[in-house]
Structure formats: C-alpha cells, structure tokens
Symmetry: C2
Subunit: 209 residues, 2 copies
DNA sequence: ACGTAATGGATAGCGGCACTATCCGCTATC
DNA sequence: GATAGCGGATAGTGCCGCTATCCATTACGT
C-alpha cells in the first residue's frame, strides 16, 4: 500500500506520517522507485501503536522513539530489553534541589523494596519517580500518606501478576516486547481510570448525594 | 512575607509566581500599599500544591485552575465538589471517530460498572477514558486485555479503600477537598511507580538475567 | 498518450503551553 | 538619599507536535 492508503486506514494525516518517519518512530516504506514507497501491515500496526502511546499513554514523541528502538533491537537479552523499554515509559524526569527530603524519601523507597523482596535496582527510574512523589507529599504535609505504601504495593503486585499472566498467555501469538509495552502503558491508563471510578463510588457511599 | 521570600521558600521564581496569580492558580497577595502586597503561609501551601500537581501529577495549568476553583468554592455539597475536582484530574479528552469500536467499549465499561455495583454515572470522564483505552487496545489486537478488567478493578477498589480511609483519618486535620485532590493525583503517581517496580520484579523472576 | 492526482523528500511555519525578560514608576530599608 | 525590591503590564522564548508549501517525479484513468 502507499502512504495515502496507510493514512486512510489509520486516520493519521499523510504529513504526520512523514513526520513520524523523520523522527524515527516509523520505518520508511520500501522504495520501489526513487519516489515511490510501499508500506505494509507492519507499518499500519506500528502506526496504531504510536497513536496509542501518544494519545492514551501520553508519552512524548522522543520517548516513543526510544521505546520503539528497544522494541526493534534484535536478539538482546529479553529482560534487558524489557527494562530499557519500561524505563522510558514514565513521566519526564525533572529535579530540583532539596537533598534532605529527597534522601529520606529514597530511604523509604529502599526499605519498601527490601520489605517486598523486589529484585529491583534502587536507581530504577520508577523508584526515582516514587521518591519524587513522596517528597511532594511530604512538602504538602502529607508524609502520613506513606503509611498506605504497603496497601498500594499489594495492589500493584496483584496488577503486575495479572499483567504477566496476560503476557505469558500471549507470548506465542504476538511480539513479546511489544505486548509488554502495550500492557504497561495502556494498562496504566486503564488502571488509573478504574481507580477514579472506584473513588467516585466510595465517596458517593460516604458523602451521599 | 513579600513575594521574594515566598519565592525563596518554595524555589519558584518570582516571575513564575506572578504568572500563576495571573492565571488564577494563586490568589493575589493582600495589598498594603498600591504596590506592596503581603503573602502568608496559605500562599506558600497553595504554591507547593500547584507545583506538585504540575510536576508530579502532570496536570496542565488550566486544569489546575479549575480544580483549585472547585477546592475554594465555599459550602457546596461535599460530594459534588469532589466530583467536580476529580473530573478534571484525568488526561485531556481527545476524540476521533470510530463509532463502532467506541460504543462496544462503552458497553464493556457499562457492564463492568454494573457488575461492580459502582454508583457512577456512565458519562463520568473516567469511564470515557477507560473506554478510550479499551478502544486503543482493541485496535492493537489486544481486545483480550479486557479479560483482566476484573483483576484490575479488584486492585482499584483496594486502593480506593485505602485512600478513603486515609482521607477519613485526616479529615479533622486538613482541608477535606484538598486532601482528596492530593490523594487522587499524587496517589496515582505513587501507584504507577509501584506498578512499574512490581513489573520489573516479576519479569526479572520470569526472564532471569 | 495525456492530464490530473498522488508521491517522496525537504524546509519553513504554526498554535499551544509554561514560563521568562524587560520595563515602569513606586516603596521599603539601610 | 542610595539601593534593592516591589506590583503590574506586555512582549518574547523555547519546546513540542504537528501542518503547509514546494518541488520534481511517478501512478492512474481514459
């Protein structure tokens, strides 16, 4: 198929597709003449993935480029690729000073990881994000929120178990790494929405209408 | 205190504070002379809240303005305000056509809500977000991911329970609505980080190094 | 065979957003 | 009385995800 049909099928404008190719999100079509290229279902699939990561997952274009590069990397150790991909899935990493609060939060995180027996290096981006959130809570006078960490971790493990089961069920059918990426990013959106729905329900229960 | 000290205490540059005032995120200081204004701890607190919602929660400035407006609204029914606030906490609402997939996803969501006995109106923004995510999954050939919805919902209820317990414990100490906002937004960041950590652990377990 | 439409490729521009810089006349402080 | 800081206003910046335009070339309908 040519770029026009790819565009029609996915709803992504032609200039946008060209832009994604330029940015390295989408491999270029195969040239049959100096100015004719063919695209196939892998392009279509990839394009849908890009839109999902962008629109639903809220990832930035540059982050998507890095993730997809890891996805495409051939024959690297699986766990390795998974880590490389997962580490690009979070929000961007700001940082401001405040070393005191930060190192205390890092300790809290480290203790949690140890308590849980999680085999995770402490410089994992997710651990950093968690520490950031705890610092922010602390600054807002909600250091006590940290008491919920174990409840949260229980739920997180439960979700992670479900996710991995899903991946295992799918491993023969689809690309492993791609499935993990989709599960991680879209699963996050799914869970966040469910959490907000559950909040509404419980607060309706408590504060009546 | 004057704006310079407010800036020093929070690490937010003076022009940025002025910008937040212009945008209605932060109430102006109280004028003591035509060009002297005083700020107090409530301003400092509010400013920290803004930065947390912005940096950790990833909310947009305009969304924060709406949320804070609801927070400040006096004597509106509690549940009402909570809803108004919560509904601005999600990601922005895009939409493209594809009515077929969409309405099917809406049905799935509606069934889930019924199955769970959640008292939530089906036009809740979170329900829409969930439907969006399901549509995206479907388009990527991962419609089967919907099988995890009940597992996810279990975990979401668990987290929501912990959150509401926390709010109840705090209700005497801090402002209710503000606590809910903080819990919702920062709790989301906390959970997402924990989920990613749990993922890493389980995939390390499975794919070893 | 010919006219129109679409293509690949390149470059420049746009709109939104979260600031940031500059300027002004005034005020607090030492 | 000098200097630093202030409130208020307006304009500009940098990034980001596109979008518009242009070009020479190729595909396609008739």
């Amino acid at each position: 198929m040519r770029i026009g049909e790819l565009s029609r099928r996915t709803g992504v404008p032609v200039p946008t597709i060209k832009y994604y190719v330029r940015e390295g999100l989408l491999p270029p079509g195969e040239l049959s003449s100096p100015n004719q290229a063919r695209y196939d279902e892998t392009h279509e699939r990839r394009l849908r993935l890009i839109r999902a990561l962008l629109d639903v997952g809220g990832l930035k274009v540059a982050a998507i480029a890095e993730v997809l590069q890891a996805v495409d990397e051939p024959g690297r150790p699986v766990h390795d690729v998974l880590g490389a991909a997962a580490n690009r899935l979070g929000p961007p990493q700001p940082d401001d000073g405040d070393d005191d609060a930060r190192s205390e939060a890092r300790d809290t995180v480290q203790e949690l990881i140890a308590r849980r027996g999680w085999r995770v290096s402490t410089d994992n981006p997710a651990a950093t994000d968690l520490a950031h959130a705890l610092v922010a809570l602390d600054r807002l006078g909600h250091a006590a929120f940290a008491e919920l960490l174990d409840d949260y971790a229980d739920a997180a493990e439960q979700v992670a178990r479900a996710d991995l089961d899903y991946v295992n069920r799918r491993v023969a059918v689809e690309d492993l790494v791609e499935t993990v990426v989709i599960g991680t990013v879209l699963g996050e959106a799914v869970f966040n929405a469910l959490r907000r729905l559950a909040h509404v329900d419980r607060s309706a229960q408590q504060f009546g209408d």
